[in-house]
């Protein structure tokens, strides 16, 4: 049965697009059929996934029925079960209607095991549209006061905006990203336990702050594909397996600026 996941946040720039690409690729790496859909206001996911040169049709073409879903889906060049549906770059955002989105999501459900919806921050139109049709929400939060506050607001919204016809509450998970073990060690960053405590959502994973994420986006490859052994990739892969229902112990990112890193002048990955 297909699962529709909305990747959301209250505050912008916390790592939703990075997460959508990395989780989508991690799920596809286990053989699941995955469609990653860009609901964001500005097209970005195609760049992070390295498909920007191949976009012909976007989500709006499909919701409006101009082309078939299969004509707009872009297949990943590295993983054959991974597909992308790009966001509209220039066209009127109001063209994205609730009925249109409902139709596309229903059709995606038939073909894929997972539909990962990247969405804009906060209460933008694309965000609430994607939420309404999702079964699962991944609330991306940085361990930082304004991000936690805005996450709290989006969690309230998630319950309000969920398709009431389904008559059930949305399954919500907390994903902490850009976690910096060095700052945490110094006591300069909100503690993971405190964030969980404040937001009271089950924890899907803790993604460390890492240059690997930047490198992967430079190359146009989700971090889970670009460097599967890196700390952020492993954290994303674990999160993906938790989404699949596996019981994976939480790996707490630690400060690894030990002898190896010092020798090579490397920051903690």
């Amino acid at each position: 049965m297909a699962q529709v996941v909305v990747v959301t946040s209250g505050k912008g720039g916390v790592g939703k697009t990075t997460t959508s690409a990395a989780l989508g690729a991690a799920l596809a790496q286990t053989g699941e059929r995955v469609a990653v859909v860009d609901f964001a206001g500005l097209r970005n996911l195609d760049l992070v996934m390295g498909a920007e040169r191949r976009v012909v049709y976007d989500l709006i073409y499909v919701t409006q029925g101009t082309v078939k879903l299969s004509q707009a889906l872009i297949r990943d060049k590295r993983l054959e079960t991974l597909y992308l549906l790009a966001a509209s770059q220039t066209r009127d955002k109001d063209a994205l209607t609730d009925e249109g989105v409902a139709k596309v999501i229903a059709e995606l459900r038939e073909t894929f095991d997972w539909v990962i919806c990247d969405s804009p921050a906060g209460i933008e139109r694309g965000s609430t549209l994607a939420m309404r049709h999702a079964d699962v929400a991944v609330v991306v939060t940085n361990p930082e006061v304004s991000s936690v506050r805005d996450s709290d607001r989006i969690i309230g919204l998630l319950d309000a905006k969920t398709d009431s016809a389904r008559g059930e509450h949305m399954d919500k998970h907390l994903l902490i990203t850009r976690y910096n073990p060095v700052r945490a060690g110094r006591g300069d960053m909100l503690n993971v336990d405190d964030v969980i405590d404040i937001l009271s959502l089950p924890l899907l994973g803790i993604i460390p702050e890492s240059d690997e994420v930047l490198r992967a986006s430079n190359l146009g490859s989700p971090v889970t594909i670009n460097n599967p052994k890196s700390a952020p990739a492993r954290a994303y892969s674990d999160a993906a397996r938790r989404l699949m229902g596996e019981d994976i112990p939480m790996d707490f990112p630690t400060d690894r600026s030990g002898i190896f890193s010092k020798l090579f002048g490397r920051k903690a990955a």
Binding site: L47, G50, E52, R53, R54, V55, V56, Y57, K68, Q71, Q89, T90, D211, L214, R215, S217, N218, L219, G220, L263, F264, G265, R266
Partner: protein
């Protein structure tokens, strides 16, 4: 000590730079503003439709935007038994359907 890191870093940054240059050239250029791809698709389809029945849902349009040239692929599925008899003989050899691929290169 850290001789290889700056090198590695420059590598991913230079890939990023090149990707952006290609993308922005296209986004600022003709193939973005004049709706070149939908237009080409329509005209090519119209030309093919003069001879065979084309199911627009079976048309796949792909593009690969490059630095010097872009590759536009229009895959049109043509049924085995097209109407005009002139095409019949040639197409008998095909199985379920034939796919005609058309590549258009555009310089930048």
């Amino acid at each position: 000590m850290s001789w290889f890191m700056p090198f590695r870093r420059r590598k991913s940054a230079s890939v990023a730079r090149e990707r952006l240059q290609i993308l922005l050239t296209h986004e600022r250029g003709a193939d973005n503003h004049s709706n070149l791809i939908p237009l080409l698709r329509e005209e090519v389809l119209a030309a093919v439709a003069k001879y065979v029945t084309v199911d627009v849902d079976k048309v796949q349009v792909k593009i690969d935007r490059g630095k010097e040239i872009s590759l536009l692929e229009i895959d049109i599925e043509i049924p085995c038994d097209p109407e005009p008899s002139s095409l019949k003989r040639r197409d008998r050899t095909s199985r379920a359907a034939r796919s005609q691929r058309l590549a258009v290169s555009s310089a930048h």
